[in-house]
Amino acid sequence: MLTYVIRRILATIPVMAIVALFVFSLLYIAPGDPAAVIAGDQATPADVERIRASLGLDRPFLVRFGEWVWQILNGNLGTSIFTNLPVAAMIAQRIEPTLSLMAVTLVFAVSIAVPVGVIAAWKADTLVDRAIMLFAVLGFSVPVFVVGYLLAFVFALQLDWLPVQGYTPLSEGLWPWFENLILPAVALGCVYIALIARITRAAMLEVLQQDYIRTARAKGIGEAGILFIHALKNAAVPIVTVIGIGIALLIGGAVVTETVFAIPGIGRLTVDAILRRDYPVIQGIVLLFSFVYVLVNLLIDLVYVVLDPRIRY
């Protein structure tokens, strides 16, 4: 077990290194010469060369990559070209809304998708199953911003039940915070629900055919007990895997959802950074989210050991 954990942790190092190399290359090949920008219009080529040398921009690619990695390991993600603030500080300022949105979406989506997928498998090939799977295809097909506008139009503009846009920090109370997140979380959750429900159904279908389920029925255990305790436990590994993989959908979708609902989070920071071509900020965000994604999936791989004691690599 310990060897599995250690090997799994070590296996993430090359993946992270490739992500880092890729993200660094982005900045390396980004158009615009920082030295020329700093030197200004009046500078001679010699001045530009001197500034380039003083910034260390004339050194080889790998040396600069190594130094950049060292900086990141020390928590320094670089400085924004536009605001001159450290990227890490800018991200820290905007992280709360994004984390809130993703957390609420995650809880909401999983608590809807898993039961729905279980019911679809239980009622396999009936009208209920067909309807659920049709909704899953719809969830995959209707883009997050379309769902977002639709929800905001119906529940905020027409019915006036929930706020249209904006974000209230958690420090100002639980309900104001939650109220603003309901519509964005539902919009963002649609694809995620579709994905998890589909995998849950597939995994459950396989498990429900096994002998021990028949044994459980013969023992007189209720359907709910069989489905949610006996079967779901053994279908857990693929479901948990897809919850982890789907985090990528949440991260990408959060950028769009925040734009639709005017939530001042990382997504908005990304959109602003794109408009201003603020490469260090874009780079920092991509790097941070990729690492979070890798770490979440590492954690999930470690959870397997708990879920399925047979896993021993």
Binding site: P14, V15, M16, A17, I18, V19, L21, F22, V23, L26, I29, A30, P31, V137, L138, F140, S141, V142, P143, V144, F145, V146, Y149, L150, F153, L157, V164, R198, I199, A202, A248, L249, I251, G252, G253, V255, V256, T259, V260, T270, V271, A273, I274, L275, R277, Y279, I282, Q283, I285, V286, F289, S290, Y293, V294, N297
Partner: protein, 314 residues
């Protein structure tokens, strides 16, 4: 195939016997004619309605894209400040935007952008993924390295990867296609590699190796044809995903340039006004959703038809 009906099978149920049932029985032939499945395209469509519905919708969108200039549209980029933000009416079916451009024309021309991006990315990512997957799955020493690189690329959320690539270049349809293709390649490669890994254990591949067939020929003649069915299914999903990512990129300002009428651009322009003029956002949304749904239906149908094993798993 059909067993001849036995006496017990044809004997009328004593409880439910009615006059009609008794008189009808002698007309039954001794041996029921076998049910002939309809062959050809019609039969295929009947057995796979998802393919028929999805295919018909995709075809409709394709026709709209091709015939956009003849479907009552005007120049989609023509500015007319005098008639800004007109509600939908007989003259402007989908209304006009804040620069007075006709949204009906823009949405119809937008079909071209969306389909071009979707189809191009599906084809390019499939070809690249096929090449990488074949090499990785069949040439063992290359596998470790290639798959680590793919793992690395896959751990960057696709939309962020496309955003990061788009930030480096000017917004153009070609660059959008390139960026989304790069983001999609790892998934296709992984799928092909998985298929190849199971195929290379097949006895007929062993037989080909024993017969002294060269590796490139084995890959080309024995492995490649068997990857095509799952690849086709995957390509439709890549197409659907590419159309959504293109719209998202354009919507957040990292996609096609504002001069190109794409659905994402129309929605981006309608964003500021959506509370008062929701129709600007509404029409491109409907077209985008219907098109993506059509491609997904087509993909699900093809999956059930071409890849029954995968169909069982999903």
């Amino acid at each position: 195939m059909n067993p001849p009906p036995t006496a017990t099978a044809l004997a009328p149920d004593p409880i439910t016997t009615t006059a009609e049932a008794v008189t009808a029985a002698p007309d039954l032939p001794d041996i029921l004619p076998p049910v002939k499945p309809r062959h050809g395209l019609v039969g295929f469509m009947r057995r796979h309605p998802a393919v028929a519905v999805g295919g018909a919708l995709v075809l409709t969108m394709l026709l709209i894209a091709l015939l956009a200039p003849w479907l009552g549209t005007v120049d989609p980029t023509a500015l007319a400040p005098a008639r800004r933000t007109r509600e939908p009416s007989a003259a402007f079916w989908f209304g006009t935007d804040m620069l007075g451009r006709d949204i009906y024309s823009r949405v119809l021309y937008g079909t071209r952008v969306s389909l071009t991006v979707g189809f191009s990315v599906a084809i390019l990512a499939s070809l690249a993924g096929l090449a990488i997957g074949l090499v990785s799955g069949y040439i063992r020493w290359a596998d470790g390295f290639i798959m680590r690189v793919m793992d690395g690329l896959m751990s960057i959320p696709p939309i962020l990867l496309a955003v990061a690539l788009m930030a480096l270049t000017r917004g153009s349809v070609g660059n959008v296609i390139t960026a989304i293709t790069i983001a999609e390649i790892p998934r296709v490669s992984r799928l092909v590699r998985g298929v190849v890994l199971s195929l290379r254990e097949q006895p007929y591949v062993d037989a080909a190796v024993a017969a002294g067939t060269r590796t490139p020929m084995i890959i080309l003649r024995h492995i490649l044809p068997n990857t095509l069915a799952p690849m086709t299914v995957q390509a439709t999903y890549v197409c659907a995903s590419a159309m959504i990512v293109e719209a998202i990129l354009s919507f957040i300002g990292a996609g096609t340039p504002p001069t190109v009428p794409s659905w994402g651009n129309i929605m981006a322009e309608g964003r500021a006004l959506w509370q008062v003029k929701p129709y600007i956002v509404f029409f491109p949304s409907v077209f985008l959703s219907v098109t993506v749904l059509a491609v997904n239906l087509l993909g699900d149908g093809l999956r059930d038809a071409l890849d029954p094993q995968l169909a069982k798993r999903l």
